[in-house]
């Protein structure tokens, strides 16, 4: 596997590879996301209990699960960069943090907007919402640490350590918040039951989920590209690239 991976560990190769990948990924994203969203908004049936407010589900759930998934991916990248000193893993972890934070924020906002009609309040200290909020704090910490260091390599290492500490803590935090929530659960708040999904709800959901996942990939690729350039700014290939770019522009 390492042999196969090796050429991609070269910044120049992976920069051009990402560049080639981007149009295809973007096209796929556009297809899946437009089908998914139109289906979810126009054609999917309304929930028998929640009515049309159920359509928030098609953003909220993908955003929430992606926000967790991105953190895990970031932790894996951080681990690789710390153990094998792979600078590209560092760049990818740096590219992921803002995307993860954005999806966490979306999950929180849509959660609140869904909660208002369902629970009658914008915010409840529901276990899932609370752990999502804490996840946002963790993301913001990682981003802040990235920005606090002037040297990008050091920033990557420091943020990597924090990410790993965070990923050990996430299950503990999640468990403690759930446990705390059941302990303090008032009887007035009824939790949303797991919606029993019919097929005509499941399909648009699948399309939306894949669409959002692809969108995540596109944004991460875009940012990854920038990170590679910024980290290799003194390399001759970057200099050449910039020479070409500036000539083309003028």
């Amino acid at each position: 596997m390492w042999k196969w991976l090796h050429p991609y560990a070269n910044p120049e190769v992976s920069y051009h590879f990402t560049n080639k990948l981007l149009p295809w990924l973007s096209a796929l994203t556009a297809i899946f996301l437009s089908i998914g969203l139109v289906w979810a908004l126009l054609f999917a049936p309304a929930d028998y209990q929640q009515g049309h407010s159920f359509r928030i589900f098609y953003i909220h759930v993908p955003a929430a699960s992606l926000s967790m998934g991105i953190y895990v991916a970031m932790a894996i990248a951080a681990f690789i960069s710390l153990v094998w000193q792979l600078k590209l893993a560092d760049a990818s972890a740096a590219a992921m943090a803002p995307v993860g934070a954005a999806f966490t924020a979306i999950a929180l906002i849509t959660g609140a907007a869904w909660g208002k009609p369902m629970w009658g309040t914008w915010w409840i200290w529901d276990a899932r919402l609370t752990s999502e909020l804490i996840l946002l704090f963790l993301y913001l910490g990682v981003i802040a640490l990235h920005n606090a260091f002037e040297d990008k390599n050091l920033a990557g290492k420091a943020a990597g350590i924090l990410t790993l500490v965070g990923v050990v803590n996430i299950p503990i935090i999640k468990y403690s918040v759930e446990w705390w929530n059941t302990l303090h659960q008032g009887s007035t708040v009824s939790k949303l039951g797991k919606p029993s999904m019919s097929l005509d709800m499941l399909w648009p959901f699948i399309f939306c989920f894949i669409g959002f996942a692809l969108l995540v990939a596109v944004i991460i690729c875009l940012r990854f590209r920038n990170e590679i350039l910024a980290r290799n700014s003194i390399r001759p290939w970057v200099r050449e690239l910039i020479q070409k770019n500036t000539v083309n522009n003028t």
Partner: protein
Amino acid sequence: MTLKAQSTQETENLTATIDNSMIGDTAQSSQQLSYRHAFMLVLKRDLTIAMRHKDDIINPLLFFVIVVTLFPLGIGPEAQTLSRIAPGIIWVAALLATLLSLDRLFKSDHLDGSLEQMLLSPHPIFILVLAKIFAHWLITGLPLILIAPLLAVLLHLNEQSYTALLLTLLLGTPVLSLLGAVGVALTVGIKKGGVLLSLLVLPLYIPVLIFATSAIDTAALGLPYSGQLAIIAALFFGSLTLAPFAVGAALKVSTN
């Protein structure tokens, strides 16, 4: 650019004539590198420094007392309300007081260069870090535990909860020091690391806060709270084994 420093011929002649017994037999002239010795060495040093710099001990303690006194003034003096929220107040105040004191854990050592020397010592970093964290806990955590019952009286804490309060603080404050050390180690090289530190560390403190306050609440009802204590103990041992390594790695990054 390639530079090569070549060995001169004279040096070999010179080394032959001069007694070089001092070089090369480091193992004999140095002490055994025992963990216990290294631990005690750093612990003794940090405690000596703290004793000569007493405001380091007193200021966080005063902060703790003042924050706790502010709550009744803000909420109202009803004994019932106060005793209901007392565990939370005491624990949040303890958390903030620890956070306030964390900055000094590595900052002054970083500024005067002794941190570099520690990283260059042949002793394993984690043992030195552990000694520093233990010293920090002795200086800030322990006084908090000693003064907490007094504040609990001010807040009308349920009489059944005192043991639980002390036990949770005894097990929980070391966790605060250990996790906090990771945050400080990450931010020690940054000029304005103070605010960043709280952003990094406070989310990690949430589990301790939840289980500790819940143990105290449960004790107030006269129910067994050993479950929560066991979880805090697990958090303690978990962070005791993992945090020193994370701190060591973070310090290497910060002093780079």
